[in-house]
């Protein structure tokens, strides 16, 4: 028996288990093929990050050692399209659309990473495509948690899309959420 197993193997298993629980493992295996259980958790985490949303772009700025990850997906686009539609239909401003900022807050709350030196930004498509951007510095070390968190973000946005669709159909916008109406009146 060997007692020289790299502890990163357990990290690898945790990341793979997260991918499995988020239904991402099969998709990831298509890209990484016959990968061994090994200490390289970063590769599998990265494949997970790449495969949660439909489109992914990554940029690295060498001078500042900053990573920029850009995610585009029909669910992000759909969420903002429904927000715009709801705002137009109910005649409220985007700042007073509860679904918009509750949905965005729920997304930001998904990022309860055991890491720092990062920032998450959501863009509604006023400029460019609707997208989510993660900026991370050299001290960011939360990559192993990102696939799970991104899957949570996707679920959250899907849930808010359903809520928005229901609200648009029933046409009960501001009245259902009195606290926002009060704020608006004030």
């Amino acid at each position: 028996m060997a007692f020289d197993i790299d502890p990163c193997i357990f990290e690898f298993l945790s990341v793979a288990k997260d991918l499995y629980d988020c239904d991402l493992l099969d998709k990831t295996l298509k890209y990484i093929g016959n990968m061994e259980v090994c200490e390289d958790w970063y590769s599998i985490a990265w494949e997970g990050i790449v495969n949660v949303f439909k489109q992914f772009r990554h940029y690295y700025k060498e001078e500042t050692e900053t990573d920029t990850m850009v995610f585009c997906d029909p669910v992000i686009t759909g969420f903002y399209q429904l927000c715009f539609f709801y705002e137009a239909k109910s005649g409220i401003s985007r700042d007073n659309n509860p679904f918009r900022w509750e949905g965005e807050s729920a997304v930001y709350q998904c990022f309860h990473l055991d890491a720092y030196d990062y920032e998450v930004l959501l863009y509604d498509g006023t400029w460019g495509r609707p997208r989510m951007v993660i900026l991370s510095g050299e001290e960011f070390c939360g990559h192993q948690e990102l696939p799970r968190v991104l899957a949570e973000v996707k679920d959250t946005l899907e849930s808010y899309c359903r809520k928005l669709k229901a609200a648009i159909v029933t046409e009960k916008p501001v009245a259902a959420l009195p606290e926002y109406a009060e704020k608006e009146a004030a």
Binding site: A2, F10, A16, I32
Partner: protein
């Protein structure tokens, strides 16, 4: 350091065979299908692991088990090293004719 090999053999013969670290809290699938093959330096392919057989907490448990086992292994290796470095000493009295 002095070591009476005869005495050591006697104690070892009397000792009960038991696990150095308890596997009671370990997930049997992770233990038998993942950890032990890895410890035997066998290849475990990711696609062959059934992730439905264990929870995230089981991975933490098996990590703790391995760390304890590793610590025991290190202590044992230290003891083996100490034994290996012992200089043999001749008996003071005659043992045979």
């Amino acid at each position: 350091m002095k070591m009476d090999l005869k005495c050591l053999c006697k104690h070892l013969a009397r000792a009960k065979e038991e696990e150095a670290v308890s596997t009671a809290n370990c997930n049997p699938y992770l233990l038998e299908r993942v950890l032990r093959p890895l410890m035997r330096q066998e290849t475990v392919l990711l696609k062959d692991v059934d992730f439905g057989q264990f929870d995230v907490e089981d991975i933490q448990e098996i990590t703790g088990y391995y760390e304890s086992l590793e610590m025991q292994g290190r202590k044992l290796m230290q003891l083996v090293g100490a034994f290996a470095n012992l200089e043999p000493v001749a008996c003071k009295t005659r043992r045979f004719c």
